[in-house]
């Protein structure tokens, strides 16, 4: 849970841990990261979630020593991000959101170049380059110029570059963005294998909530630069509210549907509306304010206000729901879009 201030032991954590204390980055009047305090243990896989502009990339850049904090401090494997900047760069790997490449090089040359910048001996660099190219599935394309590579191939190469110095802590900023499902799966497998075999700490910033929930044992959610939640998915579920379930209800559409919804009792909250392919129906996601409210009671309430239910089902609240709840953002799920024509505001709660 987000109780880091109590468990804070700044500077004493060793191994592959990450700790920040009141970490802040200010650009002019804009606080990109605001007093971020977080402890990540060695070997954790942490999902770093937040809406666009929440400060995820800025946080990662500060932790990698690419930018200096305006206030506060951070330790990476017991090293200070400001004072021990060069040492930190030796032990971390960063896969940025969008990597650039020297397009005139091929993949092998590119990795060997970075190996030389990390001062890795040439025979080790050569064997490591070959192993990494095999691991990311580029072994048979290693002599083609990078300019011929697809987006997915470039992302695989960027991951190989991230791993060239055998990092103890890996920061990944949207690692699977633009990758096909196979590519996404391959990258996830590589990360899990590294975590298991070498106890590598992984700090994963992603918008792919399914990826975060399947890979990460801890999740941190930031919004507007502030850490708003931090813990396991179970802890976040509790933090997000007293309900563990959501109820999907499909009703027969009529002119009075919206009006009727407004007459529902206060303990039934319409979280958002799901797009229906058939205009005859309207589907809503209902969040019972009290977790123990039964489907029967919900059905009765709907019936009372004149809404005719054709389908009702209860689903477990997922990380996506938790994320939306905690960041108080308008819902825009991948499969379900808010139908703007209906003017049904998100979280239409009756007081």
């Amino acid at each position: 849970m987000n109780d880091n201030t109590n468990s804070w032991c700044f500077g004493k954590i060793q191994d592959n841990s990450i700790s920040t204390l009141e970490l802040t980055k200010v650009y002019g009047n804009f606080r990109a990261v605001d007093s971020l305090t977080i402890d990540i243990r060695s070997g954790d896989i942490v999902g770093f979630l937040g809406p666009n502009g929440a400060g995820k990339t800025t946080t990662i850049r500060m932790l990698c020593g690419l930018i200096s904090p305006s206030k506060g401090n951070a330790m990476i494997a017991g090293l200070d991000v400001v004072k021990d900047n060069l040492e930190i760069r030796k032990i971390v790997g960063l896969l940025p959101e969008s990597s650039g490449f020297y397009s005139w090089m091929n993949a092998e040359e590119y990795l060997l170049h970075f190996a030389s910048l990390y001062k890795i001996e040439s025979h080790i660099a050569e064997s490591r380059t070959a192993a990494l190219l095999k691991k990311v599935g580029l072994a048979n394309k290693s002599f083609a110029p990078i300019s011929y590579y697809s987006r997915g191939m470039k992302q695989r190469l960027a991951l190989a570059r991230t791993l060239i110095n055998n990092p103890r802590i890996i920061f990944l900023d949207e690692p699977t963005l633009g990758l096909d499902p196979k590519g996404q799966q391959d990258i996830q497998e590589i990360l899990l294998e590294l975590n298991k075999s070498k106890n590598v700490t992984i700090f994963l910033s992603s918008h792919a909530i399914s990826e975060v929930s399947s890979l990460c044992n801890k999740i941190a959610i930031v919004n507007r630069g502030k850490l708003i939640a931090n813990g396991t998915i179970e802890e976040l579920r509790k933090l997000s509210g007293d309900s563990n379930d959501l109820v999907y209800i499909t009703v027969f559409n009529s002119q009075n549907t919206i009006y009727a919804l407004s007459k529902l009792p206060a303990d039934i909250v319409i979280r958002y509306k799901v797009n229906d392919t058939d205009r005859k129906f309207k589907t809503f996601v209902v969040d019972p304010k009290h977790g123990d409210i039964s489907l029967n009671e919900i059905m009765k309430s709907f019936d009372k206000v004149g809404l005719q239910i054709c389908e009702i089902r209860r689903v477990n609240i997922g990380l996506e729901e938790i994320f939306f709840k905690l960041t108080e953002k308008r819902r825009s799920k991948a499969n379900y879009n808010i139908n703007q024509q209906d003017d049904l505001p998100f979280g239409m709660e009756k007081q």
Partner: protein, 253 residues
Amino acid sequence: MLELYRHELFGSFYSWRGAAWIIGASLIFSLVSYLLLTDKELSLLDQGEMLFNLAEVIVALGIIMSAANASSTISSEIESGTFESLLLVPISHKQIALQKLYSIITIWIFLYIVSIPYLIVVASGTTLALAAIVYTGVYGTLLITGISLISIAISAKLKSSKNSIMTILMIVLILLAPSIFFASSLKKTNFGTILESINPMSHAVNSLDSVLVDTEQSIFQQIDHIWPIVAFTLICLLIFLVYTRRFEIKGSE
């Protein structure tokens, strides 16, 4: 230690397109030398003046090439997204900038070596060859180092190749203006005199003129021209050190 330097240099020579500049420079030197030696009007010039013209072309070409190269060296990495990965390697930011500078100066040295046979040919039959080679090398190296230092600083500050190239070309043009655009009468005014006295390019041009045309080849005779050029290079070094102390990338850079 110099891995990045090697990479930068290799990038400049990698393909025939990368090395096209050296062929272009050779063609320019050949053309200028050919015109100086064969053109009816130009061949009437005193041989010292011919050498002076050739030395001017060599230094000017070196300055323009180095300025263009240096002013995009950081910004092009930022624009192509390679800079973030580069900053992650355990090399200090100053070292990154310095190794880029070394590669630019090395290219000037290549250009200078290519120009030496042309200087020797144009100076044949006189005792000016050595002076032309030494003074062109010294002034070229000092000015190109200074311009490259300030260009890298501008590139790091502006983070845009287009803007930094435009800015540095404007600076080069301002520095060259008294030698190229100012009429003799304007040079003699107070404004012209002050501008010439603080302008390192004017000092280099005037010194080359003095060495090659007036044959005042002693270093003591040129010391008044040398120190402003050295001072300019040191000022550029100071600016370079300030702006390359720490690179920071913001937002979506």
